[in-house]
Amino acid sequence: MRKRKGGYAGFLIPGVAASLAVIALPLIMTVYTSFTRWTGIGTPEWIGVQNYRRLLDDSLFWSSFGHILLLIIAMAVVPTLLGLVLAALLFDFIAKAFGDRVASVLRSGLYVPQVLPVAVTGIVWAWILHPSYGALNRILDTIGLGVLARNWLGDPKYALFSVMAIMVWFQLGYPVVMFMAGLQRIDPELYEAAELDGADWWQRFRRITVHLIRPEFYVVLVTTTIAALKIFGQIFVLTRGGPSNATLVPSYFAYKNFFEKANVGYGSAIATILTLIIIVLAFVFLRLQTRNETSGS
């Protein structure tokens, strides 16, 4: 047998050159710009950590991250927990009693919101929730619950909760698909043994399913949390961060500073902090995952 010699580095050249130009260079430029005052024209003026100091006193900055915490509940926590129960029900009951086809049709139906462009689903919901010609208020009127009609996205009291509800709708299919794939790994004999021991469905779910599906659980939780931190399209189409900043999120806050207020330095500082949070989160997750794998095997 011949050993393969080195000399593969050449294959990396196009990919690394392109990544340096499109990812590394812009990243470094944004971090640098975050220490400057710049309108986007002329030369940036170095001002040290002033942008960051200003951020700490900016109530909009804090509230945008506060909103993200609620969106993490709506986009990561609720869909993950609900998705786990739904996946187990589909896998244990529906697939066994009615066949795999029925289970996979239901799974696909729940997954549909995930494959549509977020800008388009935003349009759909903005219309349904529209105060004057939207479908939801018309429906409430028709069934005699007109008193419940609200300006769902236009009232600062309800806007964020409406967005949260939409995000649960949007996100739910992803954990269901992931967990159902994970459940296929589990040895059916484990369930049969538990059943013989007299464990009911809920006990089997808690003792076996939740335990064995842990790798998928981590992946889903971290990817959805990162998705929540990055949320932009839905906010842009649904509310543009309003009304009166009730649904402002960091990415939209940065966008506004870049392209509406020409505060490029300030926008860069927001983007840099968001990036740091995401990278730290990703590495903590990788740590947990590798530790889990080594202790599991």
Partner: protein, 271 residues
């Protein structure tokens, strides 16, 4: 045993609830404005009325947006897979020096929020006269998608059967030939999953195309529809029409690619 029927009914109801907004959209997209005004959003259309869709299609020159989206997504998917294959060949099979650091770099690139790249990219593309062109968006997304592809493919290629590579080497094939004659054909299923991901992700992208494609002739489908939101010309039936023609292509891809998608979805650990 009645319990299983309760579960089926509950899950079917939930699935229907998830799909309900899309059904309401479809219902009202084929309704005339007067029909909507008289009977509301939940009635069946009294006659099928395609005027709203046709009108909207022509008003925004939707054929053009579809073509733009197809061009961008198609080219990004092809180039993205190509770039991922080259990177992963060096990292997964070639095991070049410092591969761990390259992988960390691609992993970080993969989770970065686009907000941290957008302004310099905007600035640089203006300097290079690439602003407001499909080319700029194609280049950017090819690189962004290939960061994910590299990360995923490197771990797939690390498990590549060495016997196949050894056999190719015995036959006198160089690295370049071994890549195209052995590695690519053998890993075609994985590459198909990657292609599908890249195509659909790029099709659905909103943030960067919103900033880079400002002229009407260059907009992609999501941008064209997204910026119209809140337009005074948009009444209930026109909005539904726009929603429906935005949903249909994506739904079509989903149905075409469904098998590849559900097989591959668990492959992406971090995205």
């Amino acid at each position: 045993m009645k319990f299983r029927w309760v579960v089926l009914a509950a899950l079917s109801a939930l699935t229907l609830l998830v799909l309900a907004p899309l059904l309401v959209i479809a219902l009202n997209a084929v309704k005339s404005p007067s029909d909507y005004a008289n009977h509301g959003p939940l009635s069946m259309p009294s006659t099928l009325y395609f005027h709203g869709i046709v009108d909207f299609w022509n008003r925004v020159d939707f054929s053009r947006k579809l073509l733009n989206s197809l061009i961008v997504s198609g080219i990004v998917a092809v180039l993205g897979v190509l770039l991922s294959v080259l990177n992963a060949y060096a990292l997964g099979i070639g095991r070049v020096k410092g591969r761990v650091w390259f992988l960390v770099f691609f992993l970080v690139a993969n989770v970065l929020p686009q907000e941290v790249l957008v302004y310099p990219l905007y600035y640089l593309s203006k300097q290079l006269y690439l602003y407001d062109s499909l080319t700029s968006v194609i280049i950017i997304f090819t690189v962004i998608q290939s960061a994910f592809g590299t990360y995923l493919l490197s771990s797939v290629f690390a498990e590549f059967p060495t016997e196949l590579l050894d056999a190719a080497a015995v036959d006198g094939a160089g690295k370049w030939r071994a890549l195209w004659r052995v590695v690519v054909p053998v890993s075609r299923p994985t590459l198909a999953v990657l292609f599908t991901f890249f195509f659909i992700w790029t099709w659905n992208e909103f943030f960067l195309p919103l900033i880079f494609l400002i002229s009407n002739a260059n907009q992609t489908v999501p941008v064209a529809l997204g910026v119209l939101q809140g337009d005074r010309m948009m009444d209930a039936t026109t909005t539904s029409a726009s929603g429906l023609i935005g949903i249909l292509p994506a739904l079509l891809f989903f149905l075409i690619f469904q098998r590849t998608l559900t097989r591959g979805i668990t492959a992406g650990a971090i995205k």
